[in-house]
Symmetry: C2
Subunit: 230 residues, 2 copies
């Protein structure tokens, strides 16, 4: 069985869990310590980051956008027209642009800042990356989240899903980031009705259930986190 | 004819110029002011960054890794086996991992820091993003370059090209970053013979000539920049 290295409150890791779920694929999950430097991890991925997907043929795949393309190529084909990657080159490009937008830009500007400062640094021992939260970083993340939510709302009002009339990798990448922020109660849902109704649609998918069941030790989710009607 | 928005001393823009060159594709080049905020650019790409590729069918494609995949899909296919993307899913994944490594990680940790601080901020008027260079940022870039060069050397000693026995998108992405650093004399070639001989091979390709002919007003290249024997 493939091995999947990840941690629970990581947007890029959740993105791949959703892709695996949509394709009905199983893997042996190995949870890492998020902030700690690990030689084992560096041996698999010189960037030292998760997610890392180790396939049955021992191919070691990372980072998240590359794993998603790899899964689409090796698993998605059997879904044909219903795959998570659209059929035309320009639609595929738009999907990839938005995967980069949410999975990299929003991740770096919002999710990583808030999750690291508000949760990971707090629950990790000092020797494994723990420390005091930095209020400047928290303010930056809280300020940046608004335009990303507005952008989701803007897109789904015009396109139904983020890249068109079908769910694609872009929706999963964006929902994965949002779900981490929702876990820690940082999404002000009343701000943006279209984004909320898009998230409600994704949240009710079968592939989302394991993510809604996530519980991080020492950091319980906000009460509405698992509710499909929030 | 497609339109390509870019600026000369940008690794991601040069990466796409190399892909266009390898595929024998032409485009109308439009040079932007690198540090200035432009509403026209934001209308094409909400991230406000170049490169942006506008195809004949008006599809607007960005950022660089997405443009490269788009060109491979729409132009590369006619090259069949000789395309810049390898044939198997795991080799393609390795190519994409290294495109992300050099085109994003090395770009953010090295090229962008040194080019912005040493050139762009110096030659731009204050109203268009100019200012004094930050010595802390310059030190960081100069410190990070070594392990990226070592990594190139490590890979090409084992694989001939970065991802295998054929040149791929990964080589072009890495060489594009290196070429910007070489323009400003920040690559210490004597440090790493395998990386140097790999760069010499790419530098001698036809697709590289326009890049070696680049001249930025107010910032001439180091003397050896255009030499194929450096």
């Amino acid at each position: 069985m493939p091995v999947f290295h990840h941690y629970a409150l990581s947007g890029p890791c959740r993105y791949i869990r959703l892709v695996l779920g949509e394709y009905g694929e199983e893997a042996e999950f190995r949870e890492i310590e998020p902030l700690a430097r690990s030689e084992d991890l560096l041996a698999l991925n010189p960037a030292g980051t998760v997610p890392i997907f180790v396939d049955d043929n021992r191919a070691v795949i990372s980072p998240a956008p590359v794993i998603a393309e790899y899964l689409a190529e090796t698993r998605g084909v059997r879904f044909g027209e219903d795959s998570l990657i659209p059929a035309t080159a320009s639609e595929r490009a738009e999907t990839r642009r938005l995967v980069a937008w949410f999975g990299s830009k929003m991740h770096e500007e919002v999710t990583k800042l808030l999750v690291d400062e508000l949760v990971l640094k707090r629950i990790a021992p000092k020797s494994r990356g723990g420390g005091s939260p930095d209020s400047t970083i928290i303010r930056a993340g809280r300020s940046n989240i608004h335009y990303h939510l507005r952008y989701i709302g803007y897109l789904v009002e015009r396109r139904d899903w983020l890249t068109g009339n079908r769910m694609s990798l872009a929706d999963l990448a964006a929902a994965a980031e949002i779900s981490c922020l929702d876990y820690i109660g940082e999404v002000l849902w009343n701000d943006n009705e279209p984004a909320k109704s898009w998230y409600a649609r994704i949240k009710s998918r079968l592939s989302f259930r394991p993510i809604l069941a996530d519980r991080v030790k020492g950091a319980p989710p906000t009460p509405h986190y698992g509710d499909l009607d929030f």
